[in-house]
Amino acid sequence: MQTASPRALVDVAPPTEPAAAPKPRRLHPGPVRVMHWINAVTIVFMILSGWKIYEDEVIFGWLHFPAWLTIGPWAQHGLQVHFFFMWILVINGLAYLSYGFATGRFRRMLIPIHWSEFVRTIKDTLHFKLAHDDPTIYNPVQKLFYIGVICAGLLSVFSGLVLWKPIQFSEAQALFGSFQNVRLVHFLAMAAIFGFLVVHVALALLVPKTLVAMVDGGPVIRPKRREST
């Protein structure tokens, strides 16, 4: 008598091993959550103090940041805050990148990105189908956003270092052309991060379980599953 292979039709958990089973992995492990919230606070302070610094000599004559949106009544306070939080940003950022690569989290969650799925996600979003059935899987737009903001963060740090030390790092400064170009790149990287922030926060509020997941770790990642649409 034929019996259907148990794996042909349904996902099943693998047979329990005699050895101790690994703790189920949650969407956002503890270290990720800690680094996320440290980064969130840090980025806000970096941007608001950065806007204060920008105000001291604006890049675009039509763009001024009002005083209530910037940190510090005096220009030097903006600098002090910026040069304080830059340490936290970089140390926390390096820890996050190391963790992401070493644990395979980036590989699992951010790649691959398929064009057809990307198009489908855009369509869904435009029809306001925002919620995911499975928040442990990032759709292609999410993947691009997260890869993008990591790149923008790296660019802001690199351009920031060149802005801070255009002579000591003159070889790097030469890549940008003029000193004002370094300012411009730093500003544009910030604008990309700010743009990400607006979308990121809005979506987290629209799909609150994602926000909760970044506090309590979120759902357990089910092992052995095919990527769903």
Partner: protein, 124 residues
């Protein structure tokens, strides 16, 4: 240095330590208000028969920095000051630009680009 009680444009300019500048270096520079918003770019520098020097600025309140929808406005050299590659309209406010007539050449002559004149300094 002029007497501090003298408030004429010439006296104000004299108190701002005017420096030598090539006429050519001024052409194309933005003329900004106190908020660093550009009123317009310098199109030419002219001298009137009485010796007075004026910047002719292509003025538009909103699009001045792009050179769109502008009209020429005469700005006496005494009311401005230079800071780097920007010019501050210190003693002529945006309202005066709005009210000013379109400049048309009377007997003013364009100063050559290699002529050296004096312009006041300021900081931001």
């Amino acid at each position: 240095m002029a007497n501090k009680e003298d408030d004429s444009p010439a006296a104000r300019m004299a108190r701002r330590w005017p420096q030598k500048v090539f006429v050519g270096a001024l052409i194309g520079l933005p003329v900004n208000d106190d908020g660093d918003r550009t009123l317009g770019l310098v199109e030419r520098v002219v001298r009137a028969p009485d010796g007075g020097i004026q910047l002719i600025v292509d003025y538009n309140r909103t699009f001045g920095s792009f050179g769109w929808f502008t009209r020429p406005v005469a700005v006496p050299i005494e009311v401005v000051a230079v800071y780097g590659k920007q010019i501050a309209s210190l003693d002529m406010q945006p309202e005066a630009y709005a009210k000013a007539p379109n400049w048309t050449r009377g007997r003013e002559v364009d100063l050559p680009k290699d002529e050296v004149i004096r312009i006041a300094l300021t900081r931001r």
